[in-house]
């Protein structure tokens, strides 16, 4: 941007209000944690003055994936588990757009697991919010990969047979991981701070939001709701800064440097207390769209030149003598 443009734009800036990002009344159940996430994301858009026409929410299938219907920005409702490849395509084609991905524990960790692993590797500048409510909610209570052992559901009437998958350790185990954080929907100020940090990070930001399902698992997180000491806050000057009010209530805190991946992996394995904060943050990992950027402009002339050069390699020149090379057209 030229400096004159900057001045002009700043002069005529219209600031968006929270309501500018509202689009319809959410149809989630009362008490659903998705409401908290929606409020936090709308606040983020307002506080950073994100232009609605330059913001995209890409999502898959599930309760979580109702999210972008309630955001007045661009969105793309993809098929089950394929939110990430679509988001990556959007980012490659239009790198200047802000791309968010909303996915759930089924959409991401079950059917979309393959894309998830490679999205972490690609490290494209996206913000991914995993709405983890530990159940397939939209289809009315089936066990998901993150459901705890022994949880009874329609598909596991005798209780789930397998230990729950830990999305944090899986993400931290993939090469090129650059940002991993965990939030819980009942501490909204930290939820907002974590989502804001994820937005600011230039790279693939993975935020797992532990969310309550008041309809199918209403009591599951009661112990954590009633005992603040079962939540472990990760504070650090390079990570999350805890406000005075929150610190008074949630006294169980630990200083954790987000650049320490080994400590991050250790913390990620904790089930109880639940760690909340930024586990890992490495701003130096290159983004795929930057690495792939050839530095040349993709003009139609360039594309035509490239195609013609390739196809000319296979052209047969019938009037050339055997062994004689015919000059290629320039």
């Amino acid at each position: 941007m030229t400096t004159a443009t900057e001045c002009l734009l700043r002069m005529y800036e219209d600031h968006h209000r929270l309501e500018d990002y509202h689009s319809g009344v959410p149809r989630w159940c009362n008490g659903c944690g998705d409401n908290a996430i929606l409020a936090a994301v709308q606040r983020l858009c307002r506080d950073n003055d994100l232009a609605p026409e330059r913001t995209v929410f890409v999502y898959g299938i599930g309760c979580s994936s109702r999210f972008p219907h309630y955001m007045k920005t661009y969105g793309f409702h993809g098929i089950h588990g394929r939110a990430l490849p679509i988001a990556e395509g959007v980012k490659m084609a239009r790198p200047e757009l802000q791309v968010f991905v909303n996915t759930g524990d089924g959409d991401c960790c079950s059917i979309g697991a393959a894309h998830w692993v490679h999205a972490v590797r690609y490290n494209m500048n996206l913000t991914m919010l995993l709405h983890d409510n530990h159940v397939y909610g939209l289809t009315k209570k089936q066990a998901s990969p993150t459901s705890p052992l022994g949880m009874k559901s329609n598909t596991t009437p005798r209780g789930a047979y397998l230990e729950a998958l830990n999305p944090l350790t899986v993400t931290l185990g993939v090469q090129n991981v650059s940002f991993v954080a965990q939030a819980v929907d009942w501490i909204p100020e930290l939820l907002y701070d974590i989502i804001a940090a994820a937005y600011r990070h230039k790279g693939f930001s993975f935020v797992r939001i532990i969310q309550r399902c008041p309809e199918f698992l209403p009591k599951m997180f009661d112990p954590w709701l009633h005992d603040p000491n079962r939540t472990l806050l990760l504070a650090h000057e390079r990570g999350l800064k805890i406000g005075a009010g929150t610190a008074k209530l949630y006294k169980n805190q630990r200083q954790h440097d987000p650049s320490n991946i080994h400590a991050a992996r250790e913390i990620a394995s904790l089930e109880d207390p639940i760690p909340v904060g930024i586990l890992y943050w490495n701003p130096a990992v290159p983004c795929y769209e930057d690495v792939r950027h050839a530095g040349e402009l993709h003009t139609p002339g360039q594309v035509r030149k490239g195609l013609e050069a390739e196809l000319d390699k296979y052209t047969v020149w019938p009037d050339a003598e055997a062994g004689e090379a015919r000059a290629q057209p320039a």
Binding site: T2, T5, G33
Partner: protein
């Protein structure tokens, strides 16, 4: 062996410059050089900074490298240590000497060209393996470029190369930006065309198809189908015109174009300024086009707000940041041209320097010791252009003799990158008249001027900090703390015994390098040497009262390295005094840096202690303040919600949207405590997921089942 009359002759010569006896002989034709330049007799046999290779800047940002450094780096990479690599090293060093000789004889070209020219005789003459050694070394050279020896043209060429490095980088950046804008605007125009009537016409659609499959489609039907959803062109007439005019302005610009760009190199300051003024409207038009393009591409152009702004756009709308993106101008004024221009040119120069336009001016000083206006035959140090320019405060000033220019290449690059005006004052040591055979090499004269403080190196960078301490630097002068640099000089006397003395390199030594000042010296024959002949530095140090009892002398060497002692006359000594004063003023400016450094050291410790003490009480004060209003609320028994902890789950707002409302952060608060019943408050508190609702005391005592409700509300108070 009578000392006294001899001393008289010496003193007379010193005071008047006239040789009146056999004790003072002329020095013309002896090709003498100062004693401290003993090793500099033949520059081709010496390894020093020059010649310099002008390279394309790589990752390290270096735009010029000394040949000796490059060869040393190459040898370090390919030659094994110890005796095994000796042959290779010797051959490469011989090659280096040969290249220097070729340059001295007037050859020119790039490093590889001169390498090949030098290698042919060496390969045939040198022993076995010379050819393959040289080939190996050649392939180990990291870069290629034009080779510059330290001659009259070198400063201008080095400065031009530095300027070009900065210019190319700037042009590449801007070119990319402009191309990106052109592509996006063309896309807009094209998309609009495709949606318009003309674009959806059957013929246009057919023309857009490849050859083989046209027959498969009915383009009339296709055009009809497309007519319905398209809805016509998206661009209004005004917008289309604006985009097209911005596009044509961007395509036709001549500042960063690959071909047909404006020239930015000039030989005269007035030409550069005239060109700059003439192009200001063009620059304004380009910035306007780029700004409009930027706004259009982002879809943020609003006619009502922006039209008026762009109507009134002119050359005065350009800010300093806009100007900084355009290329700078370089003016190289040789000393011959400067002399022709005279006083008027110099006045224009100062005016331009004060003006602040982005111009870099390289001025070569020709004669350093000019004839003084006061009295016949005396010297003055000239108009001191660089020191005058420093007084203008915003000008980047670099003064350096050519011999030091390689060391000062970082500062030279800094001059090219400085956003305002820059003045580079160089002394090349080359003769301003046609070169003659007996002339000293320019490198020696320049080095002498540098060492003797006649042309000291200094740099004033206005961008380096807020005050003189940060901006001024004397770093490249030898022994900047002393009046003159002092070195040890060792020679063998008649009995072949080693004698050492400490010598200071003064203005008199500089004058001894140049045959033009020969008449100011008188040679004392060996028999006449006595202890009344002292060094110039000592002579200047002693108080001058009455008839002098000693005479100032300098030791010099001739072509066979024999020592001669020369008496220096009063005119040169007066000039040396003036030169020393000027140098001391510069030293004073430089000492501000040291004073600042000394002053800040002890103060740092107490300053660090103070903030931590201040931080302690503050957070403690904040927390109780936050707790107080909450405590007050609770005491009053009013219902309240801890709004910051609300998770926006809609439970309470769906229960009673008059009593519970969302604030601008979509977090709940009690909008109207009387808009609902106590029962609703308790139910909301019970269903609140994060238990942040506190029902308080019932406000309506007539509400039914109040006791039960109060008991239920207990855990939430």
């Amino acid at each position: 062996m009578d000392i006294a009359p001899r001393l008289q002759e010496h003193v007379v010569f010193h005071l008047t410059g006239k040789r009146v006896g056999p004790g003072a002989e002329p020095v013309e034709g002896l090709h003498l050089r100062p004693a401290l330049f003993a090793r500099f007799g033949d520059l081709t046999r010496l390894r020093y900074d020059f010649p310099v290779v002008l390279v394309e800047p790589g990752a390290d940002g270096e735009y010029a490298r000394s040949l000796s450094e490059m060869l040393d780096a190459a040898l370090k990479r390919i030659a094994p240590a110890g005796i095994a690599g000796e042959r290779l090293r010797r051959n490469v060093l011989r090659q280096e000497r040969q290249i220097r000789t070729l340059l001295r004889e007037g050859a020119a070209g790039t490093l590889l060209e001169l390498w090949d020219a030098a290698a042919t005789p060496l390969a045939s003459r040198g022993g076995e393996g010379a050819q393959e050694d040289l080939a190996r070394a050649r392939s180990a050279l990291e870069a290629d470029g034009r080779l510059l020896d330290c001659d009259g043209a070198m400063p201008a060429q080095l400065a031009t190369h530095a300027w070009r490095t900065v210019h190319n980088a700037k042009t590449r950046r801007m070119r990319r930006e402009i191309d990106a804008l052109i592509v996006r605007l063309s896309d807009l125009v094209k998309a609009d065309y495709l949606r318009s009537e003309a674009g959806r016409h059957a013929e246009t659609l057919e023309a857009g198809f490849g050859g083989a499959h046209r027959a498969l489609f009915d383009f009339q039907v296709m055009a009809r189908l497309l007519a319905k959803p398209s809805g016509g062109s998206a661009l209004s007439e005004a917008r289309r015109r604006r985009i097209e005019s911005a596009l044509s302005a961007l395509r036709a610009e001549r500042f960063f174009a690959a071909e047909g760009a404006h020239a930015f190199l000039f030989e005269e300051t007035r030409d550069a300024i005239a060109a700059y003024r003439k192009r200001l409207p063009e620059m304004a038009a380009l910035v306007r086009a780029m700004t409009i393009a930027d706004l259009e591409v982002q879809g943020r152009y609003v006619d009502a707000k922006h039209d008026a702004l762009f109507e009134a756009w002119g050359a005065d709308s350009l800010g300093p940041q806009d100007l900084a993106r355009f290329p700078d101008y370089l003016v190289c004024r040789t000393s011959a041209r400067a002399r022709k221009g005279g006083a008027a040119a110099r006045a224009l120069l100062l005016k331009v320097l004060a003006g602040g336009a982005p111009i870099r001016i390289v001025v070569e000083s020709g004669t350093l010791l000019e004839d003084s206006l006061a009295g016949e035959g005396g010297f003055s140090l000239g108009a001191q252009l660089a020191t005058t320019a420093m007084g203008l405060n915003d000008v980047y000033v670099l003064q350096s003799a050519a011999s030091n220019l390689y060391r000062a290449r970082g500062q030279l690059l800094g001059a090219m990158q400085h956003p305002g005006t820059a003045l580079i004052n160089v002394y090349s040591g080359a003769s301003t008249q046609a070169p003659a055979v007996g002339d000293p090499p320019p490198y020696l004269l320049a080095a002498a001027a540098h060492e003797s403080r006649v042309f000291p190196a200094f740099c004033y960078d206005p961008g380096a900090g807020p005050d003189w301490a940060a901006r001024f630097s004397l770093e490249h002068n030898s022994q900047p703390g002393a009046d003159w640099p002092q070195h040890e000089f060792a020679w063998a006397d008649g009995d072949l015994q080693r004698v050492t003395e400490k010598l200071q390199f003064t203005l008199a030594d500089f004058a001894a390098c140049d045959p033009r000042y020969a008449r100011h010296f008188a040679r004392v024959p060996r028999e006449g040497w006595n202890d009344k002949m002292v060094t110039v530095a000592d002579w200047l140090a002693q108080p001058s009262n009455g008839v002098p009892e000693t005479v100032p002398c300098i030791p010099t060497l001739d072509a066979e390295n024999r020592l001669h002692r020369l008496i220096v006359d009063e005119k040169l000594l007066h000039a040396a005094r003036v030169c020393r004063e000027a140098w001391r003023r510069l030293q004073e400016l430089d000492s501000l840096k040291r004073a600042r450094a000394a002053a800040t050291q002890p103060a740092a410790a107490p300053a660090a202690a103070a903030p931590t003490a201040a931080q302690g009480p503050a957070p403690a004060a904040a927390a109780p303040a936050a707790a107080e209003p909450a405590a007050a609320e609770r005491k009053a028994g009013n219902p309240y919600i801890e709004t910051e902890r609300c998770s926006s789950c809609n439970e309470c707002t769906n229960l009673n949207s008059a009593m519970f409302a969302y604030n601008e952060n979509k977090q709940a608060y009690i909008a109207n405590p009387d808009a609902g019943t106590f029962r609703e408050l308790v139910e909301a508190a019970e269903s609140c997921q994060v238990a942040v609702i506190h029902p308080g005391k019932p406000r309506n005592p007539t509400e039914p089942e109040l006791d039960e409700l109060i008991k239920r509300a207990e855990p939430f108070q």
